[in-house]
């Protein structure tokens, strides 16, 4: 990556449910100011729980942080007091969730819910907060914002609710926005609109973003950097160009193979064989070894070292660079 001081840098972060093996096993990544990092991986690989840990919202889950550091804007997130974290939440770090249908309080109006977040963090009058909330509803292109301000969530469609969530998250101009699959619950046509909206607002406000997704077309569209996660480890990280033009990890390659594309009609969709093993049966070495077509005994037993094909592009595979080894094999 470039030499800019990262806004968020996560080092060796691990998280578990109290068993011997950690669900998230020593992941590291960083986000630069104003840039977008896409966290990619299949369901259950630990993307969402990582974002909750960064938000400081793990208390609602059985997961606990077991190691590592997360430096955000000069602060060590995991050592801050609960109060200090609450002061950051919704102010410097904001989050958009996956489920717009259930993520808004059904007994409060949209306006109240946005205003509340502003008043919590900014020393402004209620009138000013309301004006700001209305402005945000306009910015997220909410149709008839004055009317929606007084509407309850059940009166809005899924897309409008997600717009309201985005307005809420961006109302305090956070430095970092974490968007956890913000479009998966929406209609395909709405998905594109919401994504375009998020990236436009991000560009306008200079907010950095961690976008969690398993949709590679989304990644190609909005990412500056990509981190590919598999079973609680980051197997490959790099700029969007590195990942798309020169994918190194067999899992990353597998992901590309799983993307259906228009035009090329092969009889079956390429898939990655098998499924993620349960945590207690996870190989000691590379976690992808049980499904990797290139894996051998060393992959099963020893954790692969990071290989850097070029600055900022890291891959955790014994066989990287893949071309050289596979040809040799």
């Amino acid at each position: 990556m470039t030499t800019t001081e990262p806004l968020l840098s996560v080092e060796n972060f691990s998280l578990g449910f109290g068993s011997k093996i950690d669900l998230i096993d020593g992941i590291s990544f960083s986000v630069e100011p104003g840039k977008t990092l896409c966290l990619v991986g299949e369901s259950g690989c630990g993307k969402s729980v990582t974002s909750l840990a960064l938000m400081g919202l793990l208390a609602t889950t059985p997961a606990r942080i077991t190691g590592g550091k997360a430096r955000f804007d000069g602060k060590d997130l995991f050592t801050l007091s609960e109060r200090a974290r609450a002061d950051l939440r919704g102010n410097d770090i904001a989050m958009i969730f996956q489920e717009p249908m259930t993520s808004l309080n059904p007994s409060m109006t949209i306006g109240q819910q946005i205003v509340e977040g502003i008043l919590r963090h900014k020393p402004v009058s209620r009138d000013a907060a309301q004006a700001r909330a209305l402005e945000m509803l306009g910015l997220v292109r909410m149709p008839a914002p004055e009317k929606r301000f007084h509407a309850y969530p059940h009166q809005l469609s899924g897309g409008m609710r997600q717009r309201a969530m985005i307005a809420m998250a961006l109302a305090n101009a956070p430095k970092l926005l974490i968007a956890d699959e913000p479009t998966t619950a929406l209609d395909v046509t709405i998905q594109a609109q919401i994504l375009a909206l998020v990236s436009r607002l991000q560009a306008e406000t200079g907010t950095a973003m961690i976008l969690i997704t398993h949709d590679l077309s989304v990644v190609a569209e909005v990412a500056d950097h990509v981190a590919v996660m598999y079973a609680g480890r980051i197997v490959e990280v790099g700029s969007v160009d590195d990942i798309f033009s020169d994918p190194q990890h067999p899992y990353t390659l597998g992901l590309f193979g799983s993307v259906p594309s228009i035009g090329r009609r092969s009889s079956t969709l390429a898939t990655i064989e098998g499924s993620v093993p349960p945590l207690e049966h996870m190989p000691r070495g590379c976690r992808f070894a049980t499904r990797c077509p290139f894996a051998d005994q060393r992959c099963m037993d020893e954790v692969p070292p990071d290989y850097e094909p070029k600055a900022g592009h890291r891959v955790a595979c014994w066989y990287a660079p893949l071309e050289a080894h596979v040809r040799a094999a």
């Binding site: 938000m55 919202l57 609602t60 109060r83 609450a86 002061d87 950051l88 939440r89 919704g90 102010n91 904001a94 989050m95 969730f97 489920e99 249908m101 259930t102 993520s103 808004l104 309080n105 059904p106 007994s107 409060m108 109006t109 509340e116 977040g117 919590r120 963090h121 149709p143 008839a144 009317k147 929606r148 007084h150 509407a151 309850y152 059940h154 009166q155 809005l156 469609s157 899924g158 897309g159 409008m160 969530m165 809420m168 998250a169």
Partner: protein
Amino acid sequence: MTGGGFRCRPSLSKKGPDAVLKLIVRRILLALPTLIILSMIIFGLQRLLPGDPIQTMMAEESDPQVVEFLREKYRLNDPIPLQYLAWVGNVLQGDFGSSLRTGLPVTQMILQKLPITVQLASMAMIMALLIGIPAGVIAAVRKNTMVDYAANAVALSGMSVPNFWLGIILIMVFAVSWKILPASGYVPITLDFWLSIKSMLMPGFVLSTAVAAYLMRHTRSAMLSVLSSDYIRTARAKGLLSNAVIIRHALRNALMPIVTLSTLLFGDLLAGAVLTEQIFVIPGFGKLIVDAVFTRDYAVVQGVVLFTAIGFIAMNILADVLYIVINPRLRHPQ
């Protein structure tokens, strides 16, 4: 979910009261058959009871002629269906008949006793809400801690301890030993406000225990389900502090079913004050009906039970209306 935003109605002004009024009318119409069947049961069951009101009235020295005269006067010789129709006819004109024992009109007796029972039930309800809801919230927030277990244990005893036992223990402690509360009796609230409240403290508490326990359990489970919902996570993600999340976001939603439940429970309290009134010698509805049953005072029993039933049905309708009024999803249709 429809995207048709123009159909949204952000204000109560147009649709709300209309819908509520419609609901009330519909519920009253639905309640009519219930009331008719109920009145038949009230009337019939009593006639099945052994014992004769005139005999009870006359005691030992019964002159057959007087007995016969009274039987005719109170139409006790008519077939039961005819007696029923005559009673219903009078009730519809607002005449509940008069007591066989005292000769007083039943309506007057009821109106005299009603405020006493309403005061007792209200006292109990307020206490139950003040105990049950905070206890439920705390138990939910401190789930699976000693606090939670203790609250559950207290709630269980609240439901299982018999009222008469608790009443007597309280009288022994507060009235006999410490002499800080009157042991029994009733003081009208218009006569001496504070003494009236003071004399209602123990009976109110005794009556409230079961309802408080019930409310605590329901509040706890409603809070638990709300606290694990996505919008609570959103509220925390805004950086709101714990108390704001619990009270403004969680409790507000958890209370919706509790409000409805409380209304229904208030109906229970009105109808269920009998035993408590007996223990604390409060001359309310309960005492009226117990005395009337013992003396086979048909008109009074019928009047009181019918009144209670109407009150209970009214509480049910109120519960439905409240549910709409406090729930924005029902108040503002999509």
